[in-house]
């Protein structure tokens, strides 16, 4: 099963974290990515630029409207994602539990839709 791990942060308290903890978050995440690469589970992943750089696009009656800022206004912003494929849901949860951002904010684990279907 393929999963996307959505990584949430609060930019305000990211700044307030002690340097050591910020470094630990980065290196812990890096270690997981290395592990997933070595095991052949990693499909991809990136960090996202600050949500103040987001543009939200809406099209109504064919007319596009582009506004600055994220679609959902919240204290927590999507900070990055990690896409992987693993054998069991338990393994996916194990990866999510170890993801360092979960210690401070939250990560969200979402199975991907597939184009496969069983006979009915």
């Amino acid at each position: 099963m393929k999963y996307m791990l959505l990584i949430y942060q609060n930019p305000a308290n990211w700044q307030e974290l002690p340097d050591g903890e910020r470094d630990a978050i980065m290196s812990d995440a890096g270690a997981i990515v290395e592990e997933l690469t070595a095991s052949g589970e990693l499909i991809g992943g990136e960090g996202l630029a600050d949500s103040s750089l987001a543009k939200t696009v809406r099209v109504r009656d064919g007319v596009p409207a582009v506004t600055d800022g994220p679609f959902v206004e919240a204290k927590e912003h999507l900070a990055g994602y990690c896409l992987f494929e693993c054998e069991t849901p338990e393994r996916a949860i194990e990866i999510a539990v170890r993801w360092p951002d979960a210690r401070h904010w939250a990560v969200e684990l979402r199975p991907l839709m597939t184009a496969s279907g069983e006979d009915m």
Binding site: T37, E87, M113, E118, D119
Partner: protein, 403 residues
């Protein structure tokens, strides 16, 4: 047939023979497997340009052997082995039929996860390139390459060897091989979109490899049963999706689209296996598929026979997916309530916790029972929970019809 496709067929057929010959002579399954892969890639670029050599197998062995020598030379610590390889005469160009079986058993080593068994089997025995396997499974080539190299390390660490285990153990290992071939088939068959060509390829490969196992183990009823199941299932492929990409349930498929030739071969295989071999789960599943295939219209289906076969299967290989199908058969014979009662025994089953299947079947049975509102709610709930786009479309269409 296109020349390219002809080359591809030839290369895939030769791949396990070339690998078998090399591993026989030199050991080092992992290094030999890399060398053969490189030889296959070289052939795939050179043969279309320069023509197929007179002795393609010997050509591949020579190229692979040269790559192997280079590879071993690169590892300085292995210099002594390199000399040994260089000094030996090339392997005899004789195909040893058991090599394919020994390779399959090694690639389906129990220390590996199913995903790794599948990837390694397709590359080492199927002769597919890493890129082809990666595209079929919709992952980056680097990811697939890493899975394959990790799988080979795991086999090495687990002490896997290129030799057929004693007969008693071989029977167990062969079950794993059959399961891997079944998974490859299902991965290709269940796809309804995406890179069609690659997915159809998985079906073709699974059938081809199962055929080659049957040629080596003609008396094993389960090998015949698995091949029959694949053929009888694949026969319905063209009918299983509608123009909108939604799944078409068996009962509503246009049976004129079913491929009679595959049905005839599958039915003959399973009939023969049941008559002479010990019955097993693949044979029973194939027999069920044959009963469906033999009904000219859905309403002609011999449901009592399907039910009897599911009862047999449930006793032989109990699992919740079998129970789901059993419940449908039961409903067709004894009425929807009997099916719903059996389905209720799956409530709270941890193995089905994250799937929508119980709700989907419940919706269908409630609809048969005329419980429109409850059926609608169950269809909607199943549609929300599935991770399959074509199943979601089907379930939403069902809900819309009732709503």
């Amino acid at each position: 047939m296109r020349t390219e496709a002809r080359h591809e067929d030839l290369l895939r057929a030769l791949a396990p023979q070339v690998l078998g010959a090399l591993v026989h002579r030199y050991g080092h399954f992992d290094a030999c497997e890399d060398a053969v892969q490189e030889a296959l890639l070289a052939a795939a670029t050179q043969w279309p340009r320069e023509g197929v050599p007179d002795h393609p197998r010997a050509w591949l062995v020579t190229v692979a052997r040269r790559r192997l020598t280079d590879e071993l030379r690169a590892g300085r610590a292995r210099r002594r082995r390199e000399d040994a390889v260089a000094a030996e005469p090339p392997p005899a160009p004789v195909a040893d039929a058991d090599d394919t079986l020994a390779l399959l058993v090694l690639c389906c080593h129990p220390a590996l996860s199913p995903a790794s068994q599948i990837a390694l089997t397709l590359r080492a025995v199927g002769g597919l390139t890493t890129g082809e396997i990666a595209r079929a499974f919709l992952v980056p080539e680097a990811t697939m390459g890493q899975r394959i190299s990790r799988a080979k390390q795991t086999i090495k660490a687990a002490g896997g060897t290129f030799a057929l285990p004693p007969e008693r153990e071989l029977a167990d290992r062969l079950r794993v091989v059959l399961h891997v071939l079944y998974l490859i088939f299902n991965e290709g068959y269940s796809a309804t979109a995406g890179p069609d060509l690659q997915r159809a390829d998985l079906v073709r490969e699974a059938i081809r490899l199962t055929r080659s196992v049957l040629a080596l183990r003609p008396d094993d009823g389960e090998v015949a049963g698995l091949l029959a199941l694949m053929l009888l299932t694949d026969a319905r492929r063209a009918a299983r999706t509608g123009a909108d990409g939604a799944l078409v349930p068996l009962a509503e498929q246009d049976r004129a689209l079913w491929r009679r030739e595959e049905i005839a071969e599958g039915a003959a295989l399973v009939t023969d296996a049941l008559a002479r071999a010990r019955v097993g789960p693949y044979q029973v599943q194939a027999a069920i598929a044959a009963v469906h295939a033999e009904a000219p219209r859905a309403e002609d289906t011999d449901w009592p026979q399907v039910l009897a076969l599911y009862e047999l299967l449930e006793g032989m290989a109990p699992n919740p997916v079998v129970t789901l199908n059993h419940a449908v058969a039961l409903a067709m014979v004894r009425g929807p309530q009997a099916g719903l009662d059996l389905l209720a025994t799956l409530d709270g089953d941890a193995r089905l916790r994250d799937t929508h299947r119980v709700e989907a079947v419940r919706a269908h049975l409630l609809e048969l029972a005329g419980e429109r509102q409850a059926a609608l709610a169950a269809y909607r709930s199943a549609a929300r929970r599935t991770t399959s786009l074509p199943e979601k479309r089907h379930l939403e269409a069902r809900a819309a019809r009732l709503g």
